[in-house]
Structures are given as structure tokens and as C-alpha cells.
Symmetry: C2
Amino acid sequence: MKKGRVTIIDIARELSIAPSTVSRALKDHPALKKETKDAVRALAKKLDYQPNLLALNLLQKKSNTIGVIVPEITSHFFSAIITGIQDVIGDSEYNIMICLSNESYEEEAVIIKKLLKIQVDGVLVSPTSETKNFDHFRTLQKNDIPVVVFDRDCPGLEADKVLVDDYAGAFQAVEYLIKSGCTKIAHLGGPLNLSTTKHRLQGYLDALENADIPIRKEYIEHVPGFSHDDGLKPAERLLKLEDLPDAIFAMNDNIAISAMHIARKMALKIPDDISIVGFDDEPHSSYFRPSLSTVWQPVYSLGMLSARIILHRLNDKGPQKNFRQEVFKPELVLRASSRECASRKNDKVKL
Amino acid sequence: MKKGRVTIIDIARELSIAPSTVSRALKDHPALKKETKDAVRALAKKLDYQPNLLALNLLQKKSNTIGVIVPEITSHFFSAIITGIQDVIGDSEYNIMICLSNESYEEEAVIIKKLLKIQVDGVLVSPTSETKNFDHFRTLQKNDIPVVVFDRDCPGLEADKVLVDDYAGAFQAVEYLIKSGCTKIAHLGGPLNLSTTKHRLQGYLDALENADIPIRKEYIEHVPGFSHDDGLKPAERLLKLEDLPDAIFAMNDNIAISAMHIARKMALKIPDDISIVGFDDEPHSSYFRPSLSTVWQPVYSLGMLSARIILHRLNDKGPQKNFRQEVFKPELVLRASSRECASRKNDKVKL
DNA sequence: AAAGACTATGCAAAGGTTTGCATTTTCCTA
DNA sequence: TAGGAAAATGCAAACCTTTGCATAGTCTTT
């Protein structure tokens, strides 16, 4: 009786043939006699032979692992993306390794080093809100590790990218607020370094300009982070202005809910006194009262596409070029935290 | 110029010594001359030598990977546990591989096979709500892979376990409802197979019995899944009973919120007409109006402890025995969806 | 000066699989 | 039946590191 697991050598010995023949038999090599193949396969099955992937990894210099770097997973946004990624990668020969950067550039850099060390075959990454320099991603590429950036863009980095048209989402949202009669529209933006923050801000600005509404600096605040608590202070600043806004377009749903809280505390009626629109369409946003109008993003699809792209890169060796850039369209979801609008029937509405 | 990455052999050749000497120098083997060590270390640094973990894995027959199997990650509950796990494992030599079973026994079994194939060193698992048979976990153990079960128990499986005292949490919650004057307390339970469901149900039953309140079958409903939508129908059944309950203790926050919705739709006042208490303390539960009373669980700690236990097992080879069973105490969090209670001041309250 | 002790280093195997090339076996044809 | 082509299989290297044992070299002691 052998101790450990069954190897190709055990099978070879038992059948008095060479290990290489066994290997070929198991992969249906055309040069082999049918009988040999059958004998090998039968014995392999009988002994419950399991190929040793560790040996294969060494031989092929690859780990069959794809690293996924995200800032966090406690929000529905990233956990849904990961679910999409997992559902695609799960059917392939690859495994995914999820790494949390905690929105810290430093941790992100450490993760990259770790992934290099274990020789991941590819990396999917949504950079932290602190990341301004992308050289660590380029290091991956120099080591022939394809990188796919998702959701948060890395301007200047040449890589496959799967993004959301944040600009359009923001523009739509603010345009709707204007149509619904709001004129004093404030914005609660995210950390300034982030591409998503910038694009949503630009969408906000352009929608105002497009409607000939002057931009007021005091109506624009930026939050330090993405949690409910991060939004409270900035929301309070907006709602303590002398000339009170009649609408707030927030960077995400959590922040929008912070604004709702402050508004409620100040006895403002939503949406009569003030409309509030978020971004992300987190599942619980529809359960609030008033339910939150927001911008929906195809998170699951985003994850799936990112995964498909990296699988494609991995199968399709060769120099990395012709980078793809896919941009998903978000959709405005109108609920009860924003006023009705005369032309509402003409808008695409998702409830 | 060499093509690939620098190996121990490259260093050996350059210094005209044996690879084994290089290996020993890098691990500070006592038999080596200081000068040799220094020379090796200097060159290793200069060439930016990175040990090839793939080779090590093969040699040591281990993958340095810990599998983490969870039903899903889109809820705050599991994503927070994973964050705790990650924060502990991240500092070790191990990597974690997160696998989603989607509450499907079949998928869970497939995952186990995959983890065996890649030769994980250990597994952390919270079984699906369908899992009644634990032989697949025993298969892991037979292969000398330690298993740590967390949150959801596997009765009869001998393994390390990190659980929450669901019984006590439920008992406390229902006891409070009784103290606050409720007498017709209904329960929205989870899928019946789950240990957590059973224990919470038992806590509910015992709290009633303890107060001499007769148990009414029609006041007990079970939801098929954990999402908001899964709770709607069962909640409706409860609230359409002729003898309306004056309180609902729900399996989790999502279900509690389903109940809140149905109650509101029926113009019931919360908590005046009906008190509602959830379980889990999801972050958004405090933002609802009325804010949700619920039972808080130390999710992050639960993840960290599970991770520590498996690391300990991995360092501490030898036969698996003396399994640990750790049980965390949950805490009742009183908010606005339940009535005040005369003796409230005496309770430990977390807001 | 020789034996013994100790220090420093090298050799080679092991871990399991794949693959180009070499070799053997089989079969057909002249 | 020899020759050669074609079919089937084997050999050995490669992937990189670790480690028990062997060996070479140095020093000490009698």
C-alpha cells in the first residue's frame, strides 16, 4: 500500500509502462494505442487518480489563480461584482483570490507584491480612492500578468477596462431633478481622486450648465469616505446654508441616506422641500421611506464581463495590446425621494 | 542575460557554489560561514531574488491556501466575517480562497472537490441551508485538512466550531418584547434545516413558555430564503390572521423589514400596533424609520477567531482532536421598532 | 605527525507532470 | 525476408527548492 495520493508513476508501475505514456493516455494523445489508453484510464479511475496541480503549477510556471483586488466587500456594490466574477471564473480552470485593499494605497501595493510572489496569472482590480500612481499595476504587466481594471478607472494606464458611464448617470439624474422643477441642486461628491467622483461631478456640472443654471461652489461638498457616517457632516453643511438647496444629488446611496437623515432632522419634507437622489441602487435603498431615487449600475454584469475579458487574455497569450474598454450604461431609478416631473412618462423608469 | 526570474541556481552559479548552500544561506543555516551567507544575501538582494513558491508548494505538498466557503457575500453578515478572516490570514503566510456555495448543497460539494484538487491546507466553512449531510467535510478531514465551522453549526460533525448563541439572542429579544407588554408574539423563522433557525426558534419558544404565554402554531412562519422578497408572503400570512400579532420576531433584518413593509401597507403603526425585532444588525437597519430593533452579532470577531483557530491547527500538526467550540454572545439592540419597556433602564442597551 | 573532532560545503534525491526526441515494435511492401 | 515506413512507447530533462548524508577541509590534541 502506498502512503500518499495516487500518482501517474503508481499507475505506470502497475501497468509496467512509462509515466509519460500514462500522461499521454490521460490526455488522449493520438499516438497511443487504444488499448493502452483504455487500460490506463480504467486503472486511473479505479485508483481515483487526481492529477497533482501543484506539480503542474511548477512545470507551467503558473498558479491557475486570478487575483481580485477590491477596496472592500461589505457594500453590496463590490460583493455583487465579485459574485459576477466568481460565477464566470468558477466554470474555468482558474481560481480567484480576493484581496481587500481597505481603500489604502499602501495595502494595495502590498497585495500586488503578494500576488506576484504567488505568481498569479491575472489580476482584476478596482483601485483604492488613494491610488494616484499606477506603477504597481505596470509591474504586473511587465511580468506578463494581464490586468483588467473595473469600475474605477486608472487614467493613463494601458489595460483592459470595464467601466460605468458615471458621467451619463449623473447627468441624467441631475437633468431629471431640473425637469422636476428643482433649481438649487447641490452635490455630495466622493473622494476627489476617484475617477467615478470626477465623472459624476462633471455630469452634475454639465447638466446644470446645459440648463443655464449657474454653478454655486457652496453647493458642492465632498465626503471623505463612502459610509453613512462620512456623509453626515458634509450633508449638514449643505443644509445649513442660508440659501437652502431644493435637491441633493449624492455620490452614492449611503451618502444620500445621510442627507435624508439630516434633512429629516431639520424637519424638511422629502421630496416636497428637498429632493434626494443617490447612486448605486443598493438593495435596501428601495425599502427606505421615502424610498430612494438613485442610479442603478449593472454590477453583476460588470463583474461577469471583467472576468470574461481576463479569461480571454489568459487563453490568448501573445503581447498585450488592443486593450478593450467597455462602458456600461447606468439607469436612473425614480422612487419617492424625488419629485414627480411633468414629462415623467417619457422617461425610462425602472421601479 | 537570463530569461525568466532569478533562481537559487543562478545565484549559485554566479558565486560558484552549490544551490543547496545558497538555500541554506538564505535561511540562515548555522553551519554556514558568515562570509558565504553575506555574499549570498548581497547577491540575492542585488538580483532581486524571489523564492519560487510554486516549487515550494510541490515540495511541501501544500498550497499555502485556506479555503473559505460561504453561502453568499452580498449580505453584510458574511462579508464582514470574511473581512475579519482576511485581516487575520493576511498577516500569515497563507492566502485565502473565497468560494460561494449560493446556498446550494450541490455547489458546496463541487467546491469541496475543487479545494481538494488544489490541495488547500485548511477550510473554513459555513454550510448552506440545504446541507444535512456532512460527509464532504469529513472527506476533507480524512485528507488531513482541518475544518473550522463558523456561524452555522453542523450537528454531529467533529470539528472546531465558532458559533453564536442564537438561542440566547432570540430568548432575549422575545423576553424583551414580553416585558414591553406584547403578548401575541409571532415568529418569522428561516429555512428549517439551519441550526441558526432551530436555535432562534427554540429561544422564541422558551421565552414564551418562560412567561407562561401559550404557543400558537399559526404565529410561526418560515421563510424560504433570506432576502427581503422571501419575507413578504410569510409576513403577509401573519398579518392577515384574524387575531393579529402585536409583535414579530424575525429571523434576520431583511425579513423584519419585509414585515415592516407589510405592516405599513396595512396601516399598522410600528411599534404602537405591532413591534418588530430583527436579527443581525445590518448597518442599514439603524437608518430605517422607524429604526429597527435587532440582535447584534460580533461578526468581525467571529471571522477573526475562526481564522486564528485554523492557523493554530495548521501550525500545530498532529492528529486532529480536542476540537474547540467557541460561542459568541449576541446583544439585543433596542431601537424604535419595538415599544419601550418599563424596566428598560436596567437592560444593557446598545444604540 | 597522525588521529580525531569539528566546520563548511556539495551531492543527489525527492516532489509529479509534461514533452521533444530517441528508440523500439509492428506492419507492409518489394 | 530484408528494408523501410509508420505506429507506439520510453528516456530524460525541465520546473525550483529543500535536506539527509557524504565529503572535503581545517584545526586541535596527544
